[in-house]
Amino acid sequence: MHHKTIAELAAGLERKEFSSVELTQACLERIERLDASLNCFITITAETALAQARAADLRIAQGDAAPLTGIPIAQKDIFCTRGVRTSCGSRMLDNFISPYDACVVERFNAAGAVMLGKLNMDEFAMGSSNETSFYGAVRNPWNTSTVPGGSSGGSAAAVAARLTPGATGTDTGGSIRQPAAFCGITGIKPTYGRISRWGMIAFASSLDQAGPMARTAEDCAIMLQAMAGFDERDSTCVDRPVPDYRAALGNSLEGLRIGLPKEFFGEGLDPAIAGLIQDAVDEYKQLGATVKDVSLPHMHLSAPAYYVVAPAECSSNLARFDGVRFGHRCENPADLADLYTRSRGEGFGAEVKRRILIGTYALSAGYYDAYYLKAQKIRRLISEDFRRAFEEVDVIMGPTSPSVAFEFGAKSADPIAMYLSDIYTIAVNLAGLPGMSIPVGFSNGLPVGMQIIGGYFSEDRLLNVAHRYQQATDWHTRAPAGLAD
């Protein structure tokens, strides 16, 4: 049962081949058996899941099922879940039981989905390898000595290991796409503002975006349908109709114009990955697409701009964690300043502290114009680069990451090397565009992902482009050895 996709499981539930309770029990048993070696979950909500599954079975019996009714999913621990620990991978929130559900969680609940638990992640979503979690690193199911990518590494590894058919992720600089690539699954970061951020713990508010992670583009379409849409509680959420994503999967790719930016294929890219991307592009040609070279001339400034904007916004957002109203508080504070500084010093890990310090410096008196304002102007240049490219092509393709999953500790002592593992994904967040990653092959036994970028609100096109490729290939069906049974 764990090899079935969300679409197949929904069909099975509808045909009464199995119940949601049976399906949920199967997932929970698999989590119990395998998660000790992978560390994907921070919290497992077995009792709640089974109660939700019983309610879903009743709903299905009454003929009131939505496409996700009775389907088990797991939530990245960045989403607030009422009555369930919401830690964001941090000691700061180790004792935090959220009093409310995030908008995304509300929508999955309304659709009748079953929540298996909360997934491990880099602390406050800051990381590219899932090595910064207070709860320990997640292991990549394809090779447990390598990282699963970050920050949605728990989500990607859990889907790849077939512990859950789908999971939520968030993407501030590539945190859905890069772990999806490292773990050989499919993930989409929608347009900024497409999904409400209400109840999603903020890292960098002008970049953060939730999205689905699953094995196939079709499953991502089903999940995105439930997640997307206007929410007045998030003032950055865009009020725009949500298309029928699944219906768009039937569109032909005849005449699709693919752009290949030369900046995606330069120095630093693993040649094996470049070859697999070219193979995938060739497959698209077979499907009727045409290919054109394009240029994104400010691409090289995306990582430096990101490492001003993201830390600046994180230093502001994380100011709320002060030990007063919730979260970790230090013992016996001498005065209020001691309470603030020690609670924050004890609650946050090294990478979070590093980013708060950089952000505080960039926003401090005399430096705002030189750093934050400058970086926001660079964002405009990057966005204009994409706008010009999309006048000539429908989608842009390239590698998701310059390498396959790396070994634990390989980059943790060098922050710049770690930051550059998101080099191809960051520009998409700065511009606010949608982007997704799909599996296109293997290098040294590890999955390789290809990134597909589209214009604003073109999620339906991206999902269709990915789905057509997945109908013609089988990379997305491969399972890690030892976890296939």
């Binding site: 039981i97 009093p99 900024y192 503002g193 002008s206 007045e232 003032s235 950055t236 865009v238 400010h298 090289h300 400034l301 990582a303 430096p304 701009a305 490492y307 001003v308 100011a319 007063v324 109203r325 919730f326 508080r329 504070p333 005065d335 209020l336 300043a337 001691d338 309470l339 603030y340 500084t341 020690r342 924050r344 010093g345 004890e346 946050f348 090294a350 502290k353 590093r354 708060i356 310090l357 950089i358 505080t360 410096y361 401090s364 750093y371 304002l373 400058k374 970086a375 926001q376 102007k377 660079i378 964002r379 405009r380 966005s383 922050p415 710049i416 930051y419 606010g432 565009l433 604003y456």
Partner: protein, 95 residues
């Protein structure tokens, strides 16, 4: 750009963030590296470029200035480290 240990301590104080004395040098080294990395931003002429806050240049949406939420103080304070009579307790600020 090279940050000294004293500058790191000053930034940490501005951020109300305690960092261990034996780690200050390492933070100074990492932060200096990161600042060197972002120096590349200076290579682009942005004198005629408007900063981008929202990718779609959307304005911040406002709602009517009216109370829309019920009082949930007891629920929210159930998460607090220390409360008394509906108030959050912190160390004394005024002698």
């Amino acid at each position: 750009m090279s940050l000294s240990a004293a500058e790191v301590n000053k930034i940490a104080w501005l951020a109300r963030l305690a960092i261990d004395d034996d780690k200050v040098e390492a933070y100074a080294r990492d932060l200096s590296q990161i600042l060197d990395f972002v120096e590349q931003l200076g290579s682009a002429d942005t004198s005629q470029v408007a900063p981008m806050a929202h990718p779609l240049d959307e304005a911040q949406r406002l709602r009517p200035d009216a109370v829309t939420e019920a009082d949930q103080r007891a629920l929210f304070q159930s998460q607090a480290p220390l409360v008394e009579a509906g108030l959050y307790l912190v160390p004394k600020v005024i002698e």
